[in-house]
């Protein structure tokens, strides 16, 4: 049996899934100052029911790292940055112990100016005196040559509890993102590890021997042991859990839109060819772009608690959220109240909803039902506009070959899946607004936790080979090998896939069903003075996010 827990901003949801289907679920209010207590509460309700010994796996989606970063509850990090010429690295400055160390690596990974060890030692000394004990070392083009980062690690290691290096996250380029990712990772390392310890103790105390995995923003999981080294990868996993939930309960094959309508926002995600689309660059947190892989989602400020207002005769919904709906004791009429008035929902004190809409309507020479109708229409129109915009931006993404430009795949959604609190109430209105078919899956209320329970490991690897220099690297997997002049694209593709599988085994999460797909494979002839001098080969492969096929049938419902 599989246990899934999604610790969200408001609620903590848990489900227990067996081969027979959804066996149990629990919902609790999230205690934001003590997430563990919320986890303990749902575990306490579900585990005794199932029997601790029968739970083989616990997948956990938690806002811990996200909250720590957003709320600044992290510890100071000593950041060593080797930039060389280019955009002024002051732009990425983070925290009070950020220092640029002279040295330069170029785009091919050639060292063009040596690392200034004296400057590095000086910064290490200053950090030590300031009591800093976690560090991030990041070099420009470090995925092409990891030397500077490794040297800095050796230097700072003796005084550190934890050192994180930029190239360990990804082979993807993006120096500023690498700086942010590594610095955040070091900053949440201690708080996350304390949390991980507590989760493990809690599981043990309940008699569980399940393997524990942590959810990531790309809809995949990583083992708890790995998350201890890469805690930043656990950020923003909540929306991903919801998307994976829909994927689990509905057998999505066609290009589709997922709408997760919450209290404050509606999150939009897209599926193409049966898999959720990932953002090509990485997640943004606290205004800083990172290399953390994430699903491509868009959030707009429309949800059940979004306030209704009239501006110049135009009815608006959101983006302000003014407390709960009037039917739940709030002061301002919201979208939920409008749905109550229209009879689409029957939530709480519906009389309060009617009163609120009528009062607001009277101020603007209209009546409650008309205002409710206009508000609901405004909400679905905005949602539809955002869906169109997101689809267009996906189809307009830059491509780099003539073939892709002329023949490239376009996403054309055929279905819209709706989940979240107001999903059922809004389905009729959405069906009118969208030309695509609209579905509300039956078990939508805990789909996020189902998504968490059934998610599988994801992993990606970027291989870079330069046959003139005789090097092949897969930075995220810590692979560096010599290659000779005859090394070709086909070998590189095979190597990338082999190392990716090998890494899964190393993590002791081998997944025989995992489909390793090559998403990019390019080989460029390098020419100097009219002579072919080598090849620059780039391969990217990944294990796509997916749900366990065996359980998918069990939780499937009519969609």
């Amino acid at each position: 049996m599989l246990l899934g827990i999604d610790v969200g901003g408001t609620h903590t949801d848990a489900v227990l899934v067996g081969a027979e289907g959804l066996l149990a679920w629990a919902k609790a209010k999230t205690n934001r100052t003590d997430l563990l207590s919320s986890i303990r509460e749902v575990l306490g309700r579900i585990v005794p029911e199932a029997g601790a010994g029968r739970i083989s796996r616990l997948n956990l989606s938690t806002t811990l790292s996200t909250n720590a970063i957003v709320e600044g509850l992290t510890e100071p990090v000593g950041v060593f940055v080797v930039s060389g010429p280019g955009i002024d690295p002051a732009a990425y400055s983070i925290g009070e112990h950020y220092r640029v160390i002279p040295g330069c690596t170029d785009h091919r990974g050639r060292i063009t100016s040596h690392l200034d060890l004296a400057a590095a030692r000086e910064h290490a000394g200053a950090c030590r005196r300031a009591g800093v004990s976690v560090y991030a070392c990041v070099g420009k083009f470090s995925p092409r040559n990891t030397d500077f980062e490794e040297t800095l690690k050796e230097l700072v290691h003796p005084q550190a509890d934890f050192v994180t290096l930029g190239h360990e996250f990804s082979g993807q380029l993006g120096f500023g993102r690498r700086v942010h990712t590594a610095a955040f990772n070091a900053a949440v390392w201690r708080v996350f590890n304390r949390f991980a310890d507590a989760v493990q103790r809690c599981a043990v105390s309940l008699g569980m021997s399940a393997r524990v995995n942590i959810l990531k923003a790309d809809g995949g999981t990583m083992p708890l042991s790995m998350s201890r080294m890469f805690p930043v990868e656990s950020i923003l996993s909540g929306p991903a859990a919801s998307v994976m939930g829909i994927m689990a309960v509905c057998d999505i094959q066609e290009d589709s839109v997922i709408l997760d309508i919450g209290g404050t926002t509606t999150d939009i995600a897209l599926f193409a060819d049966g898999a959720p689309l990932t953002s090509p660059e990485g997640a943004v947190i606290s205004g800083r772009p990172t290399l953390v892989r994430a699903l491509k989602t868009r959030s707009i400020g429309i949800g059940g608690d979004s306030a209704i207002s009239l501006v110049d005769g135009q009815v608006r919904v959101g983006p302000r959220r003014l407390g709960p709906a009037m039917c739940e004791g709030g002061q301002t009429p919201t979208l939920t109240d409008a749905l109550n008035v229209l009879g689409a929902a029957d939530l709480g004190d519906t009389a309060a909803s009617r009163r609120g809409l009528n009062e607001l309507a009277a101020k603007h020479n209209t009546d409650g039902p008309t205002l409710a109708q206009d508000a609901a229409l405004a909400a679905v129109t905005s949602i539809r506009a955002a869906v169109i915009d997101l689809t267009r931006s996906v189809n307009d993404r830059p491509v780099y070959t003539i073939y892709e430009l002329l023949e490239g795949k376009r996403v054309t959604p055929k279905r819209v899946y709706v989940m979240g609190g107001p999903a059922r109430a809004m389905s009729g209105l959405l069906a009118e607004a969208f030309p695509e078919e609209v579905f509300v899956p039956e078990s939508y209320a805990v789909a996020n936790a189902i998504g968490a329970a059934l998610s599988r490991p994801t992993l990606s690897a970027e291989l870079f080979a330069d046959t003139q220099r005789g090097r092949m690297l897969i930075p995220g997997l810590d692979v560096e090998e010599s290659v000779n002049g005859s090394y070709k694209l086909e070998q590189a593709e095979a190597d990338a896939a082999r190392h990716l599988r090998g890494y899964l085994e190393h993590l002791r999460i081998p997944d025989p069903d995992a489909l390793v797909e090559t998403v990019e494979a390019q080989s460029f002839n390098m020419v100097e003075d009219d002579m072919l001098v080598g090849r620059s080969i780039r391969v990217k492969c990944q294990i796509r996010p997916g749900v366990l096929p065996g359980y998918r049938k069990a939780v499937g419902c009519r969609c």
């Binding site: 060389g84 010429p85 280019g86 955009i87 002024d88 732009a91 330069c104 170029d106 785009h107 091919r108 063009t112 100016s113 420009k140 083009f141 380029l173 993006g174 120096f175 500023g176 993102r177 660059e281 205004g287 800083r288 772009p289 307009d396 993404r397 830059p398 491509v399 780099y400 070959t401 003539i402 073939y403 430009l405 002329l406 390019q522 460029f524 002839n525 390098m526 020419v527 003075d529 009219d530 002579m531 072919l532 620059s536």
Partner: protein, 439 residues
């Protein structure tokens, strides 16, 4: 986080699946390291800088800029339509105010492609700036346009297309034509009789560095722009003046390019040549993008940059300064008629020989412009490529006077009946029509 002072759209299209030939400078690898550098620097994470994909130019877009023989489909491949479409996308970004500035970082380039196109010359088949300029005029009604070509090679194609156009100011700064391809671009090339001074050529000595370029920019280019008062300034941003370029002899640096871009302040830039793909392009393109966006560029330089090595010699500085003074005077008070050519009745006639180095085609032209005194004048070209039959091309320009419109149609009709030509093409801009006939 960094923020752009001017919002910038970069239309980046490296055409990773297209080359003239495997080891040709115009090959798949050309913008690979530029892409690496821009990604690693996080250019598109700077608030206000966004990456776009190109539009696709269509045959009617090409027809406004070129007479193609036998026809567009035979001469032009999808790569050229994408590249021209990239320049058009840049124009659309600026005209529709999606971005204040735009840079078409695309290949293949275009500035050696002339008015008549039989094939590829100087790595160029169609002139992507010209296709864009005609798009600006046709779609957005822009009238006065300035093109500043900072490629190391004379932009002879762009010059040829706008030779008779008084509304397009073409300024080219380049390595002296006596020392490099295509061997033209001398100050006396000032435009046709109806557009004298709307073409300005600034030849620079081999070895000219940042100092010389910026001196010419400040003392010649900027005053010319000031006088012309264009509605829009376009930079043909070739990058082969770089000290590391393998096929040229100049000493310009990434810092110099960034500073030139900043001072010029062009709304649209279009990549042209530049073949030091590892040592120059990554840094020069970064410098140009940041400068266009108004972001600090003081830390942008080549890893091997040594100011002493690329310092301009004293004799070059002296030559540049004295030439600058003479040129501005010459350009602003040009002679009445071009140096080459002759008056035949109401027509000004010149003979031209054009060599297509890339495609090994030799073309002879007889080009006539009507000196009506009212407009740019209808242009008539008889062109013969190698031993192919003679082609007739007639262009009635934007804003043509009624007499020139009448004359253009007359020449086209007579030409078809004369049995002198195999193919004929008429571009009637006021009448918004393009005709092609096979006789």
């Amino acid at each position: 986080m960094l923020k752009a002072r001017n919002s910038l759209g970069v239309v980046f299209f490296p055409a990773f699946d297209w080359a003239i030939s495997p080891t040709h400078p115009e090959r798949q690898e050309r913008l690979l390291y530029t892409q690496d550098q821009l990604r690693e620097e996080g250019l598109f994470d700077v608030a206000g800088i966004r990456e776009y994909k190109p539009d696709l130019a269509r045959v009617p877009d090409v027809d406004l800029a070129h007479f193609t023989f036998p026809d567009v489909e035979h001469v032009v491949t999808n790569s050229h339509l994408v590249s021209a479409g990239g320049a058009m996308r840049a124009a659309r970004l600026v005209m529709e105010r999606e971005a204040e500035r735009a840079f078409a970082l695309v290949r293949p380039p275009g500035h050696h492609a002339m008015s008549v196109v039989h094939g590829t010359r100087g790595f160029c088949t169609i002139n992507i700036e010209a296709v864009m300029v005609e798009y600006l005029r046709e779609r957005y009604g822009v009238r006065r346009i300035a093109i500043v070509d900072t490629d190391c090679h004379h932009g002879d194609g762009t010059q040829d297309i706008y030779w008779h156009d008084p509304d397009v100011l073409f300024i080219s700064m380049h390595q002296d034509g006596r020392t490099i391809y295509p061997g033209t671009g001398f100050p006396y090339e000032l435009g046709g009789p109806t557009a004298m001074g709307a073409t300005c050529n600034i030849p620079l000595l081999p070895g000219t560095g940042d100092q010389g370029f910026l001196h010419m920019l400040d003392h010649v280019v900027m005053p010319l722009l000031e006088r012309f008062k264009p509605e829009i300034v376009i930079n043909s941003a070739g990058q082969d003046n770089h000290f590391s370029d393998p096929i040229t002899n100049m000493a310009f640096s990434a810092q110099g390019y960034a500073e030139l871009t900043r001072r010029l302040g062009a709304q649209i830039a279009v990549l042209e040549g530049g073949y030091s793909i590892q040592g120059a392009l990554p840094y020069v393109n970064l410098g140009i993008c940041l400068a266009m966006a108004g972001v600090d560029t003081s830390n942008v330089r080549e890893p091997d940059f040594d100011p002493e090595r690329v310092k301009q010699e004293k004799r070059i500085t002296e030559y540049t300064e004295s030439l600058a003074d003479q040129l501005l005077e010459y350009f602003t008070a040009p002679p009445a008629l071009p140096k080459h050519g002759r008056v035949e009745g109401e027509w000004f006639v010149r003979d031209k020989e054009i060599h297509y180095d890339t495609d090994s085609i030799f073309e002879r032209q007889l080009e006539k412009v009507r000196m009506c005194g009212e407009c740019g004048g209808t242009v008539v070209i008889e062109s013969r490529a190698g031993s192919d039959p003679v082609c007739l091309a007639v262009r009635i320009p934007v804003g043509a006077c009624p007499e020139c419109v009448k004359k253009g149609h007359e020449v086209f009709e007579l030409g078809q009946r004369s049995r002198n030509y195999r193919r004929a093409m008429l571009v009637d801009r006021p009448g918004k029509s393009v005709k092609r006939v096979l006789i």
